[in-house]
């Protein structure tokens, strides 16, 4: 339920703006599509449908107008999202463009070939390609990661974890891989192992408020009085990094809502465990509830009834 109530951030608002503009424009506006693709590459948002549909048209008809350097990036981007959408025919066409330009020996082209194999479920061929790349270039991070996702695709998660562990022994600073490892561990419900991975993530990016929330959520999932208390601490630290004090000067909807929901849920669960709740935590709870209503009122008043219901059902003040 908490996810449903979550407000979107400025990134997704910008993305929606792009999307609406593209859908509304009568003729094909190639500049707009190019900017959208650029934005998607930067923000790492996943919009395979949008990219494959409009990007394909851009590549097919307007490729000569694009900057030469950028056009190949765009082709690669469109190719991957075509594969995600299962459109192998067009993906192969684009692949041939890249192959004729950069040759068969290029690592990036080989990797794309392997990805096409992957999408056709010829996983063994794909693995062979990645292995041959790694023999030549042992420091090729991307091939390692693709191997992990092949095992993930097969459903062989233990093997995926194993490969990812060996990868992380070499490349310890890869946040994305640590996150992946933690999510794989979470699918096995081994939260305590996932916590260790998330600790690495926090060490790598100590000012990113999101990772503290992820850590706190995993602590909360573990359960127990100590863990609830710890989770509250991490949620509040995340709030400290992404603080809600300047609500009126904020140019975009606030992004710290997961922390507020987390605080409310943690304190509620604490009270369920029949623990004496500290004065400071009661204050925090009251502040969180009020602030949640304030934000909802300001940014999405139509969802106020849901939020009020949520607050009523987790209320610790009028419980008896």
């Amino acid at each position: 339920m908490a996810e449903m109530l979550m407000l979107s951030s400025s990134d997704s608002i910008e993305l929606n703006k792009f999307e609406n503009k593209i859908r509304e424009s009568r003729s094909f506006n190639w500049v707009l599509v190019r900017d959208t693709l650029r934005f998607l590459r930067k923000s790492k948002a996943r919009k395979s449908n949008l990219v494959s549909k409009y990007g394909l048209k851009l590549v097919n008809e307007y490729i000569s107008k694009l900057d030469a350097q950028e056009s190949y990036d765009i082709i690669e981007q469109v190719l991957v999202s075509l594969l995600e959408c299962g459109d192998d025919e067009n993906a192969n066409k684009l692949f041939n463009i890249l192959k004729s330009k950069f040759g068969r020996e290029s690592v990036r082209v080989q990797r794309l070939q392997a990805m096409i194999h992957e999408s056709n479920f010829q996983l063994k061929d794909a693995l062979d390609i990645y292995n041959s790349i790694l023999e030549k270039y042992p420091a090729d991070q991307m091939s390692y990661k693709r191997q992990v996702s092949i095992f993930k695709c097969q459903g062989n998660l233990t093997k995926a974890i194993q490969v990812l562990n060996t990868y992380l022994q070499i490349f310890m600073c890869d946040i994305e891989a640590w996150l992946e490892l933690s999510s794989l561990h979470i699918t096995f419900l081994s939260y305590s192992t996932a916590l260790i991975c998330l600790e690495e993530v926090i060490l790598n990016a100590p000012i990113n408020y999101i990772f503290y929330i992820k850590y706190a959520e995993t602590l909360y999932s573990l359960g127990g009085i100590d863990n609830y208390n710890m989770a509250i601490q991490y949620y509040t630290h995340s709030l400290e990094l992404n603080s809600p004090t300047e609500i009126d000067v904020l140019g975009h909807p606030p992004t710290y809502l997961p922390a507020i929901y987390g605080i409310i849920m943690s304190i509620f669960s604490l009270s369920d465990e029949n623990v004496q709740i500290k004065e400071s935590q009661l204050k925090l709870m009251e502040w969180a509830q009020n602030h949640l209503i304030l934000i909802t009122n300001k940014y999405s008043p139509d969802k106020l009834t849901f939020v009020k219901h949520f607050i009523d059902s987790t209320d610790i003040f009028n419980k008896e």
């Binding site: 997704s12 923000s43 000012i207 929330i213 992004t255």
Partner: protein, 105 residues
């Protein structure tokens, strides 16, 4: 308080301009009287320090200070955007089947 601080800031910068003028005046006087330049007189140095103190006190107190946050650029990132790990995408999703349906219709 804020009014006083603002005033002291203005006085501070005024005094500072005055010290500059005094130094120039002093050098001009020395040149006219054919004396060597050995240093700025003490009263000008004192005036300069006072103007510095007044100005900095005024600047600090004339407005509410806002905390500098190292992570403002991250505050715009949504929570979900970190759940997408493009390097680890798998292709065994519903895309293939949906694509077939779209094509057939």
């Amino acid at each position: 308080m804020k009014g006083v601080a603002k005033l002291s800031g203005i006085i501070g910068i005024g005094l500072f301009l005055h010290t500059i003028y005094s130094v120039l005046q002093h050098r001009k006087y020395l040149r006219l009287t054919d004396q060597p330049f050995e240093g700025v007189p003490l009263d000008i140095i004192v005036e300069c320090i006072i103007s510095l103190l007044l100005f900095s006190w005024g600047i600090i107190n004339s407005q509410n200070l806002i905390p500098i946050k190292a992570s403002t650029h991250l505050a715009k990132k949504s929570y979900d955007s970190f759940d997408n790990r493009p390097n680890f995408t798998t292709f065994n999703n519903r895309g293939k089947y949906i694509n077939e349906i779209i094509k057939n219709n």
